[in-house]
């Protein structure tokens, strides 16, 4: 089960301070999309929105991205 959205790593992930790469394009597209959005809008509201979306994505696809999730929270 993924850590809740208030875990501090989520902020670091969506703001690019916790770089995590994968061999899977879908995961990398998510991280890239977060980076592009954060570059355009660094407001707390957008960071919160990116965390919500990333959390939802990784909750839904947890079984596909177990290695990536382990890297995020290592």
């Amino acid at each position: 089960m993924l850590p809740a959205v208030d875990h501090p790593v989520w902020v670091r992930l969506v703001t690019g301070k916790k770089p995590v790469q994968s061999g899977k394009a879908t995961f990398n597209m998510l991280i890239h999309s977060n980076q592009m959005s954060y570059e355009r809008d660094q407001s707390p509201e957008n960071v919160k929105d990116l965390i919500t979306k990333s959390h939802s994505f990784l909750t839904k696809y947890e079984s596909l991205f177990t290695n990536e999730i382990a890297k995020i929270f290592e």
């Binding site: 790469q21 394009a25 879908t26 890239h32 079984s63």
Partner: protein, 333 residues
């Protein structure tokens, strides 16, 4: 039903029989072939190039058939134009995937290519498919079409989608196979998204891309490779206009992405075989790019064991170029 049609090329009469038997199908064939099909649970688009069991080939009287799997809970065909394209992801099932086919060189494709990453549901709801085209010698003379088999409607300016719902123990997983990698040299960046560009930044300095490519005598059959957090996403060159100092692409470039020229690939067949060798499972669907077919001389050759339509653009969440796309349906739980 599963014995009726497997994912490969079939005659028109075989596909007519499968539709009559009530199968849900995602089809690729010539306009003439698709026009001979009855109404039923299918969507399709025009293309006449295929990676078949016997290798790459062109056929206007056979149709590549991808069956919606029997374990799917449902499949709904819907068409979209630029005005309601954002609805594509919202209509997609909470668990499942969406097959989509878009006609080349249309506003709906441009809208999808430039804006899909902004749409609500992007990445969360897997969208996979391809861009319909025409025979290479008819480019600019004939129009690609897509067909909603449920209504019989044929479109030159809209896309059609088949939203497929999956049970909780199955999950769609999209994968790309890119035989191109960055050359590792000059970094090219763009100020805005678009299919054509003049100015850009190269290694942090303002430059004209067409002039840069001409001066370097760059082989434009190899794409620009964008770095998406370590994944290589290609953008293929359509035209370098040295008079207008403009470069046109088959997919948009985006700001915020570091692009580099691709390393040349000599043997496409071997390159695909090497990339595909590690695959653990048969994909439920795959497609590959017409540029790989043409530039790589893939007629009569194979891309590993993978079969599927050879298309004018590939879709795995977003529009891709010179890429093989694969859809896997994974067991979960």
């Amino acid at each position: 039903m599963s014995a009726t049609v497997r994912a490969t090329l079939h005659s028109i009469s075989e596909v007519q029989a499968a539709i009559a038997a009530g199968e849900s199908l995602f089809l690729a064939g010539s306009r003439e072939a698709l026009s001979q099909l009855p109404r039923g649970k299918w969507v399709g688009g025009s293309i006449c190039y295929f990676m078949a069991d016997e290798g790459g080939l062109m056929s206007e009287d056979r149709i590549f058939v991808t069956r919606v799997p029997e374990f799917a809970l449902g499949a709904e065909a819907v068409d979209y134009g630029p005005e309601n394209l954002a609805q594509l992801y919202l209509d997609a099932p909470a668990n499942g995937f969406t097959f989509v086919v878009m006609p080349a060189a249309t506003e709906v494709l441009k809208t999808f290519a430039e804006r899909a990453p902004e749409f609500e549901g992007f990445l969360m709801r897997p969208v996979v498919g391809w861009v319909a085209g025409v025979r290479a010698d008819l480019i600019g003379k004939d129009s690609p079409v897509v067909v909603n088999g449920q209504t019989g409607a044929i479109f030159e300016d809209r896309c059609v989608a088949l939203h497929v719902s999956l049970p909780d123990n199955k999950m769609a997983d999209l994968d790309i196979v890119n035989i191109f990698e960055s050359h590792g040299g000059d970094v090219i960046r763009f100020e805005k998204a678009g299919f054509d560009v003049t100015g850009c930044m190269i290694n942090g300095r303002p430059a004209n891309l067409a002039d840069f490519l001409s001066a370097r005598e760059v082989r434009t059959e190899f794409p620009l490779v964008g770095d998406y957090n370590g994944s290589s996403i290609n953008v293929s060159f359509q035209k370098v206009d040295e008079v207008a100092h403009k470069v046109e692409f088959y997919a948009p470039v985006f700001p915020g992405v570091n692009y580099r020229l691709a390393k040349p690939v000599v043997d496409y067949e071997r390159a695909f075989a090497r990339e595909i060798a590690a695959s653990d499972q048969e994909p439920a669907f795959a497609c590959n790019c017409i540029l790989n077919y043409l530039y790589g001389g893939l007629e009569g050759k194979k891309t590993g064991h993978i079969t599927g339509p050879i298309t004018f653009g590939e879709i795995a969440h977003q529009l891709l170029n010179q890429t093989m796309v694969r859809l896997y349906l994974r067991d979960v739980g």
